[in-house]
Subunit: 204 residues, 2 copies
Amino acid sequence: MPQLEPKFLSRGPLDSKEARWKRLVKTNYIDPNGVQRDWESAERQTRPKDSLVDGVNIVAFLNKSTGSELLLEKQYRPPIDQVVIELPAGLIDPGETIEQTAIRELREETGYIGVTNKTSGIMYNDPGFCNSNFNMVYVQIDMSLPENQDPKPSLEDNEFIECFTVPVSRLSAELENLEKEGYAIDARVGCIAEGIEIAKKLKF
Amino acid sequence: MPQLEPKFLSRGPLDSKEARWKRLVKTNYIDPNGVQRDWESAERQTRPKDSLVDGVNIVAFLNKSTGSELLLEKQYRPPIDQVVIELPAGLIDPGETIEQTAIRELREETGYIGVTNKTSGIMYNDPGFCNSNFNMVYVQIDMSLPENQDPKPSLEDNEFIECFTVPVSRLSAELENLEKEGYAIDARVGCIAEGIEIAKKLKF
């Protein structure tokens, strides 16, 4: 666990020429009426040349005696100066498959060793604004394995992540409570919670 | 319906000084180890000064004799040069409440007149990359009203949107089919579909 609370100091404009991790681009296109237009958007600079996606989001269930639990993270995010409730996630490294990224990121961020059992299609986070995207990878964690008894994350110097689990059936209520406590909610886990509540309500 | 297919011409770097709609920023902060760091991120320039969010995503159900249908859109998105399957959505105008934005955007993009019945907390689309966020607003559309018999969108000059509905119970399968047909999938609707499938599988 982090020793101190992260502290926001300042935020200011970033010149395109100085940016190393993100960039602005302009797309020129002809619209369906035949009119030529420009559209501004943002991109990560980190996507490998041979990759169609930036990274993965990971849905990892832990089967406990009390029911199925979803593995989540608390992570300080400088772009919004808040600690965010998120799925484990990460960016693809050059040469990796999506599934390899998921297994590696899960191990690094949470310490758990898992096996993938389903990968979604590509999803776009906010396609009017940016090209940022991911595959959702479902990972099974065998809690009976010795290596999963006392999971030890191996975080990078600039990563500060705290793992926790919530009962899947109570995900929406737990997120509401966490938001009241001051945490921000990531849209991927937030929308999964919305979907669960929709299914409950419509009695699927 | 659009007369022509949109046509991608080119994409290139955008200088910060020329950007009118999006921007890059740098956040300076002290991490939990006491180390001072910078973090690059992207933002919309359109968020009103008094607003905590960029806009809304809208979950609108149409109750048909065959069951509940979810209202979706196909929209060409220049940042990824693909037609994307999305929820109705839009940016907040200065002075609007979240709910007013939802009702206005639903009317403009789909022609339907609805009433809001639930608003989620704020969700962040990709908080390691950008501050882009939204509230999810649930809107009820009374299909027996005369104004909802033949809905007429009123789109802006640069908006090209086609509405359609899918049975909520089959959302995940329908998105898979649409992806196979070449459409991109927005993460908000994609993650709702994942949540519905999780609830079905765990028999909530």
